[in-house]
Amino acid sequence: MTDPAGGQATRVVTTAPQSSPNAGSAILTVEHLTKVFGRSGREHKAVDDLSFHLDEGESLAIVGESGSGKTTTARIVAGLETATSGRVVMDGLDVTRGPRTGRRKDVARIVQMVFQDPFGSLDPRQKIGKGLEELLTIHFGLSGSGLSDRVSELLDQVGLDDRHAAYLPRTLSGGQRQRVAIARALALEPKILILDEAVSALDVSVQAQVLNLLVDIRQNTGISYLFVSHDLGVVRQVTDNCLVLNCGKLVESGPTAQVLDAPAEAYTRALIDAVPKPGWKPRRRVV
C-alpha cells in the first residue's frame, strides 16, 4: 500500500487548504457544490459551484438573503438533499450521494441538524425523555441506569432538568423546545452541528439564552458548528468565520469580525447597512 489514498472506498484524504492555521483539521470539505432544482427548461441553480471547509471545533456561518442557497447547502451537508454535482466529504466519509441505507447511522453520528421552527421539529405525541431514550437505545444500545443518567446529563447540558423529561412538546415554550432539539442533536455526540436559523423564531430575551448556551456547548465539547442565519448580530456572537452567499454563489468569506467590520464586497456592505441600529435610516435600494 504505497498509495496514500488507498482506502478511498470509504476514507478519503482531503487536500483542501486550511484557512485558519491555528484550527484543527477539516472535518467537512465541500468542493464545487452545485444544486439545480426544477426540470430542464425551467431550471433554477440554488447553489452554484460552492467550495468551503469546516475545521474541527470551528464555527462557520453561512449568511445571505432568502434564496441565496444557504439552507440548501446546509440540507445537502445534512444529507436531506442530494447535490447535482460536486463533492461533500465529512470526517473522511464521502456523503455526496446522500447517506444510503446502512450508512445512515454512521452519518447521523457525524452530523446533526437543528431546524428553525421548534414547533414543527418535535413529535407532538412523544415525551421529551422518551424521545431521547429512543435515540440513545438505537445508536448506543444504552439501557437501565446508564440510559437514564445520559438523559439527565443531556437535559442538564441544555439548561433543562429531569422534570422536563416527562413533558410533551406542547407544554414547553419555544425556547425550551429549541433546547430539546439541541439536546436531541447532541445525544448522538456528532462532530458537526448544523443550526439552520435555529434562534430566528425566538424572542430576543430567550434568543440570548440559547446563543449563550451554544457558545458554552462548543467550548465544552469542541463540536463544530455550521451556522446558517440571516441575522448578522447573531452570527457575530457565535461564529469564527463566515461565508456570504448571493444567488447560490460565494460572494465573500473570511473571519466573521473582518467580514462584518470591513467587508470587501458591496453586497456584504449592503447587508450590514440594512441592519437597524442607532442613527439608522431606512433606505431605498440603489439600483
Partner: protein, 341 residues
C-alpha cells in the same frame, strides 16, 4: 418631536388616537384570561409611535382593539377614542367608515391577507370603489400612481398580476398602497417587515416612512424589534405581559432606558460590531394572565424587592420618561452600567 405617551393632551392639541386604561380579557374560559391590562397611550396627528414587546405582550391585541377587530369572546374595558369619538360606540356604518377611511392596517404576512384568486388591481381598487368615493377608473389611476410611488416600475403590468407572482417585499408594498388608497389619517403597521430580508425591510420601511411623512399620517408601528422601532418612531411604548412598562421619546428611551425590562431587551440584542456574553433575561416572556399581584416583570427582574412582588407599580414620570417601576430612581445607575459595559 417627543410626546410622552400616557398624557392625553399637550400643547399640540387633542390626540388623534387616545387609548385609556384598556383591558382585554377572553371570557370563554373560567377564570377569564386577561390579555391586556391598564394600557394607556395616545398619539397626535402625524406622530409615529413604536409599540414594542415580545410574544404575548399584548401589542397586537391592542391594535386589534383599536380597530374593533377583536374576537367575539373578548371583553374590553377602558376607552378608545379616535379623533374625540369613542370607537366602541360606533354604529355599523360608522365602524365601516372608520375602518375604510380613517385608519389603515398593514399586516405582517401580506400573502395571508390578499385573495390569491384576485389580481393586485382588483385588490387595490375594490375597497375604494365600495366606499363610493371614486369611480373604478379614478381608483385604477390612483392605484397605478401609488404603486409607482412605491418604487414599482411597471405598475400597469403589476395590476394584472396575482399575489403569487410577486415577491414578499413587492407584495408588502402593494399592501402599503392598499392602505393609502383611502387616504387614512392613521396607519397601524403590525410587524410590517418581520417576514422580509433586512435589505428588503430597509427598502419597505423607507417607502412607508416617506409616505407617512409626505402625507403627515400618524403611525402605530407594532414590532418586536426595538432597534427598528427606535430608528423610525418619535415615541416608544414598551409592553410586557399585557401592560405598558415604559414610554417616552424614542431617542431618550433608547439611550437611557429607565425600566429594567427595556434595559434588558437592549442588552440581550446581539451586536453586529462586537462580541460579548449576552445579558439574557431569566425565564421566558410571561402573558398577562400568568403574572401575579405585583409588578409584571418582578419574576424575571434582578432588581425586584418584596414590594415589587406584592404591589403593582403605577406609571409615573421619571426624568421625562413614563416608567412603571418602584425602583426607577434607585437602579438608574445600575441600568446604565449594565448597558454600556
Amino acid at each position: 418631536m417627543m410626546t410622552a405617551a400616557g398624557v392625553s393632551a399637550d400643547a399640540r392639541g387633542p390626540a388623534l388616537l387616545d387609548i385609556r386604561d384598556l383591558g382585554i380579557r377572553l371570557t370563554d374560559r373560567v377564570p377569564h384570561r386577561v390579555l391586556v391590562q391598564d394600557v394607556t397611550l395616545s398619539m397626535h396627528p402625524g406622530e409615529s409611535v413604536g409599540l414594542v414587546g415580545e410574544s404575548g405582550s399584548g401589542k397586537s391585541m391592542t391594535v386589534k382593539a383599536a380597530m374593533r377587530l377583536l374576537p367575539s369572546n373578548a371583553e374590553v374595558e377602558g376607552s378608545i377614542e379616535f379623533d374625540g369619538r369613542l370607537v366602541d360606540r360606533f354604529s355599523r356604518s360608522e365602524l365601516a367608515a372608520y375602518r375604510s377611511s380613517d385608519v389603515g392596517l398593514i399586516h405582517q404576512d401580506p400573502r395571508a391577507h390578499t385573495n390569491p384568486m384576485r389580481t393586485v388591481g382588483q385588490f387595490l381598487v375594490e375597497s375604494v370603489v365600495a366606499t363610493r368615493k371614486m369611480s373604478k377608473r379614478e381608483a385604477t389611476d390612483r392605484a397605478i400612481s401609488l404603486l409607482a410611488e412605491m418604487g414599482i416600475g411597471d405598475a400597469r403590468r403589476r395590476m394584472d398580476q396575482y399575489p403569487h407572482q410577486l415577491s414578499g417585499g413587492l407584495l408588502q408594498r402593494v399592501m402599503i398602497a392598499a392602505t393609502l388608497m383611502n387616504e387614512p389619517r392613521l396607519i397601524f403597521a403590525d410587524e410590517p417587515t418581520t417576514a422580509l430580508d433586512v435589505t428588503v425591510q430597509s427598502e419597505v420601511m423607507a417607502i412607508l416612512m416617506e409616505q407617512i411623512e409626505e402625507r403627515d399620517l400618524g403611525m402605530l408601528l407594532v414590532t418586536h424589534d426595538l432597534d427598528l422601532a427606535a430608528a423610525v418612531s418619535d415615541t416608544l411604548v414598551v409592553m410586557y405581559a399585557g401592560t405598558v412598562v415604559e414610554s417616552g421619546g424614542a431617542k431618550d428611551l433608547y439611550a437611557d432606558p429607565r425600566h429594567p425590562y427595556t434595559a434588558a431587551l437592549l442588552a440581550s440584542r446581539p451586536s453586529t460590531t462586537q462580541v460579548k456574553r449576552l445579558v439574557s433575561i431569566q425565564g421566558r416572556p410571561a402573558a398577562a394572565f400568568e403574572v401575579g399581584q405585583g409588578c409584571v416583570f418582578a419574576a424575571r427582574c434582578p432588581f425586584a424587592t418584596e414590594l415589587c412582588r406584592t404591589d403593582r407599580p403605577e406609571m409615573r414620570l421619571v426624568d421625562g420618561s413614563h416608567v412603571a417601576c418602584h425602583r426607577a430612581e434607585a437602579i438608574a445607575d445600575d441600568l446604565k452600567v449594565a448597558l454600556h459595559d
